[in-house]
Symmetry: none
Subunit: 186 residues, 4 copies
DNA sequence: AATGAATGAGGCTTCATTCAT
DNA sequence: TATGAATGAAGCCTCATTCAT
């Protein structure tokens, strides 16, 4: 739905406090009152915006590669590429703007994050089982490292306005290098 | 100032949109109008809250250790410990709530982030120069890994409400293991 | 626009400080907040009120009479008649209420005054050129005499609440008598 | 009283809406609350300001000259000179700022005006009785001409910010010329 | 469905006035 | 008398939501 998209664009680009019926109407090209012909109230609009974000983030998810690190790479690079294409939208996933807008519906936002997180963790655990990564490292910590790197990239890109974003493959290369290096060490 | 503290507490705990004069007054124990005898307007309150946050985050900064990785460890563990003591406040540093509240004063928020970032990068570069970490890895990427891990921990802790937070030293151990492992590999 | 009219009515009748959104709403028959669906803010309302005043004052302006004193008479009597019909509105033109309400838009108010003033002066200069008034008298001073008489009439009428206003033609007759008398004298 | 003076200065210079306890305190050099140690409430302050204005305007009043036109001249020139010395204060006499500030005490302001007006009228009537001015002219109208000229001068000076004010004697000369010219005419 | 005026609550801010110190 | 924090009532303005057209 156009309105959900517009809502997501506004929230992530301008902030929750700019998500008003008027602004939405202007963005979509309808009158302010008309917005409520399509959605019962603002909460419903925010829910739709979150659903829209989830759709964008998890299109083609999960990746099909059988190798856990290749699968993780695919996910990771995909997300960074998405970030470069749709910086605002991607940033929204890690921002708390959505969460604030969601009000009572925080679980909706949370599920987006947990879904990614669970996937990353699963890949890492498999990689450890296959001896690709040192087994001694806590998969929970490794998960925060991987997710965090995505997050920090979104952060730098969107918040600090970094000019030339890093190449997604290069970023992954560094992560993978570190992950597998731990094995040699032991 | 009591009000600045209360403002930071509200922003990071309940969100920007709950930072109202009434809420602030209630938190401090004064009437809403009285707030503006101490601050010209809301923007000034937010500025004070940001300054307060900066004070908390950078108390005893930068760490004095001569070894770059020890210095980084000190910073990293310190931040994670802070997070466990003051989850809301710490989370605020990475959230965009403050930034939204700051309005025109975004540079204030940005400077907090850039200061940490520059420190982390400097430690990593020194470590590379001293041969502790593989020189081939981009310091910018490594910086996002380290900062991102902090960020993801704050995220998990505050947003997903993880019950038992990880031990700061354990988290650092994993990072350091990965960083130095890259050297052996080459 | 109804609101502009009401605003002018309130400002000139009760004073700037009574021009509140509530009062305006009451006058027009809408809620206070609704006022701002039609005008961005109070300044815009005041601007509209001034424009409305200008429209009322300069309807059919300038008079078409070819003789300068006849033209001036027409203007003068017209203004005094207007004063008797719309005392509040007319008074507003000379009051500083409007100016205070206008805030930054003082030029709008000033232009109303200067326009009348320039017209009066022009008539007097022409009359001097045609030998109807002694050439020795400063046109600037004469202008203040004519404008001032209007002003003082508005003042008496509105501020001192004079019961029976003077007849506009009689007032003009006195002025004209004095103006042309100066010629004989020389 | 210093406070009364300051109040008059503020009202006539900056407008009623700037007459606040804080502004008054700043002007006089005391704290805002202290203002109410000297005056019961704001209305009392305004009353004092009006009394102060009356004192300034009517110092040495009425002039002692026996000739009515000389007496009027003395008054007229005196007022214009006052205007050039204290533009704000003088303007206040004709402005409605004071009246707005006075609220319920409008009679106080009115009496200032009526006192001047009665004096001017008296001079003119005497002049007519002595045959200095044509008897046919309505003294009420003549009074508005004289008072109005003062008013218009204050207006030009203060409101339109005219750079070089007219010479008081020149202005009076024009008025007197016109007044006495009417006699010859008959 | 669409419109846009209207409502009314809520948030920011100012200020006269009070009062403990 | 002086101070200045505190109060509480307005006033401005925004916005979600409703509703007649």
């Amino acid at each position: 739905m156009q309105i959900a998209e517009a809502a997501l664009r506004i929230i992530s680009g301008k902030g929750v406090h700019r998500l008003t019926a008027q602004e939405l109407g202007r963005e979509v090209g309808i009158a302010d009152g008309t917005v409520f012909r399509h959605f019962k109230d603002k909460a419903e609009i925010v829910r739709a915006a979150i659903a829209h974000l989830e759709g964008v983030l998890f299109k083609g998810f999960p990746p099909a590669e059988p190798e856990p690190l290749a699968r993780l790479r695919s996910f990771f690079v995909g997300r960074l590429e998405l970030m470069q294409r749709l910086p605002g939208v991607f940033f929204a996933a890690f921002s708390d703007r959505l969460e604030e807008a969601a009000g009572d519906d925080r679980p909706l936002v949370r599920s987006i994050i947990e879904r990614s997180q669970a996937f990353v963790r699963q890949c890492l655990v498999e990689a450890q089982e296959q001896g690709l990564i040192a087994r001694s490292l806590s998969p929970d910590v490794l998960t925060t490292v991987v997710i965090g790197t995505l997050q920090a990239n979104a952060f730098l890109h969107h918040r600090l306005g970094v000019k030339s974003p890093m190449n997604p493959n290069d970023v992954w290369q560094v992560i993978e290098t570190m992950l597998v290096a731990t094995k040699q060490k032991t």
